[in-house]
């Protein structure tokens, strides 16, 4: 059993999708916590969901990072416990400093709603160790998902195996023709140095039930149960 907490900000819209995965599909205790709370309670995994927190005013995630609950999330992460940020959640985790870099406007300006192949770059990570395949396909839905970091940060991410997912072609070839938003190094998801905090633009919770056409996202959550 793993105890899940999903944060809810004004404008979150993937919170209940994630709860459906962790509670209804995986049968794990799951609570949704309003951002004005200050205590996470007894929890193993904190998930920061996608959406448009605070209307994404100023910058995506910029205001959400000051929500009262975020101090508890920082403390949770500092103890080495799991934190997952999806889409807007990834943006919030970079803004609050749990993950390096920033998410900026997509190269071609469009909001992208699509499915994209992802190369599992680091299969040793607990987040990805339950995947047998090297390439999975997940939905993406974002206007500002172009990962940016300075060259030193990028090198550090690569040296320490922190890049978990890269956009690629269906055979796993990573090139600029298969980089939907123009992310640096085709980066779709990264962890912190310790590996307990993951941020990713693709939505694993939207590919976790066969009725929606794919279960490629389910292993990511199952990896946290083992």
């Amino acid at each position: 059993m793993s105890k899940f907490v999903i944060l809810v900000f004004p404008g979150s819209n993937c919170d209940r999708d994630i709860a459906y995965v962790t509670r209804d599909i995986l049968g794990q205790p799951t609570r949704l916590i309003w951002h004005q709370e200050t205590d996470l309670g007894d929890v193993d995994v904190v998930i920061v969901p996608g959406g448009f927190s605070y209307g994404d005013y100023l910058r995506c995630g910029a205001i959400a990072r000051f929500s009262p609950i975020m101090q508890a999330v920082l403390d949770h992460a500092a103890q080495g416990k799991w934190v997952l940020g999806v889409c807007n959640g990834f943006q919030i985790l970079t803004e609050v400093g749990l993950l390096p870099g920033a998410l900026t406007r997509n190269r071609d300006l469009h909001f992208i709603c699509d499915r994209t192949p992802l190369k599992i770059e680091n299969p040793q990570s607990p987040w990805t160790s339950t995947y047998a395949e090297a390439v999975i396909t997940l939905p993406i839905a974002h206007g500002e998902g172009r990962y940016h970091a300075d060259p030193d940060t990028l090198k550090s991410l690569e040296d320490h195996g922190q890049i978990l997912f890269r956009y690629c072609d269906p055979d796993g070839v990573v090139d600029q023709n298969h980089n939907p938003n123009g992310s640096l190094g085709n980066i779709a998801g990264i962890t912190n140095r310790q590996g307990n905090v993951l941020g990713m633009m693709p939505h694993p919770e939207r590919a976790a039930d066969a009725i929606v056409g794919s279960v490629d996202g389910l292993n990511l959550f199952q990896g946290l149960l083992s």
Binding site: L58, F66, T104, D108, A149, D150
Partner: protein, 87 residues
Amino acid sequence: MADFQARIYVTLRPSVLDPAGVAVCSGLHQLGYEGVESVRIGKYIEVQLTAADQQDAQTQLDQMCDRLLANPVIENYCFEITELATA
């Protein structure tokens, strides 16, 4: 205490691609402004605040920019402060 107005300019760092700026640049070219070499789009923010003096206002504004108004990973900022005449 005195009232101040700050005009804050937040701009993308030169190393960060600005796709909106590129799109606007190509729009200007289509309008015939072929001399336009580049366009970079930033944010302009006006803040009115009360502070002990100009130095205090500057200190507070620096903190506001570092903590919220700009993201130092991708953005630079600068601002001008004007003391408002008291009524």
